[in-house]
Symmetry: C2
Subunit: 134 residues, 2 copies
DNA sequence: TTAATTAGAGACATCAAGAGTCTTTAATAT
DNA sequence: ATATTAAAGACTCTTGATGTCTCTAATTAA
């Protein structure tokens, strides 16, 4: 069990977009170069992020992507959910009622999620900029 | 990303073994019947658990498996590690130093792990017995 | 209006891991 | 000896991740 590479790419992309100045459009080519990825592959990931409402895309020449205006305070969890989906890590198909095992697993997963929810992209972006300046 | 079915089987098996009386050997056939699984497949899982030192096996007629004597207080995390391995959920191959993304992911994962570490099989087994009696 | 640029959709190929079966071997009890 | 049981390994099958390629649609710039 491991997070997919796509999630990694998505996180890098989102952090990068967050460091850009507001309303500036960044093309998939630049984003792909930054991560040494094929643009077409990254394009799929970006489409997922767009459909999740985390970024906005404008087609055509001089088009590209930017962080969503409406959706502020994007968390790590938001990005992960956009790529990995929202299904539970421990997904027993049977679902006996009052299952003790499932309870434990769900609770543990919630602990991870709440941490990922509390971590916002803007915070990381700020930290990254601080590090660069120093 | 999802926990494997094997982990689910392993957890059920371990809880079941924990409810058995000490030193009693349970064969793979019984364990497989309980979960409606093929014995040969479950056998592989049991071997992993044995290699991790969580259970002990005795071959031959009247043989079978039982919870390890030396290793008490087995946690959910122990079982999961035995099956899934101990690699990190977020495993970036590059490892830039002072990576902020990795930090967040690792910390979140630790939150989940610490919860899974604190949950012991014996506690769940006790609860399960209580439920049955009531 | 035309050409260049860019996102999006979808078919397709490839690969790795999970899930499970089958067979053979080794150890133990009766 | 024979039956029983765990262990090991080869093997198949399926699924999902990881990409690539191509075509379409929208937008800008000339
Ligand atoms: S006991 Fe819980 S985990 Fe086990 S089969 Fe029932 S619902 Fe699933
Ligand atoms: S910044 Fe962190 S997650 Fe990204 S490539 Fe570097 S080490 Fe990996």
């Amino acid at each position: 069990m491991k997070y997919s590479n796509a999630t990694n790419y998505a996180l890098h992309t989102m952090v990068y977009l967050t460091t850009q100045q507001r309303e500036k459009l960044v093309g998939v080519q630049e984003l792909a170069d930054m991560q040494r990825l094929s643009p077409t592959y990254l394009s799929k990931i970006l489409t997922k992020l767009a459909k999740a409402g985390l970024i906005e895309s404008t087609p055509g020449a001089k088009g590209g992507y930017k962080i969503s205006r409406t959706k502020q305070d994007i968390s790590f969890l938001d990005v992960i959910h956009a790529i990995e989906g929202e299904t539970s890590l421990f997904d027993c198909t049977i679902h006996h009622e009052g299952c003790l095992i499932e309870n434990v697993m769900r609770e543990a997963e919630e602990n991870m999620k709440s941490e990922l929810q509390s971590k916002l992209l803007v915070d990381i972006a700020k930290e990254a900029e601080m590090n660069q300046k120093s």
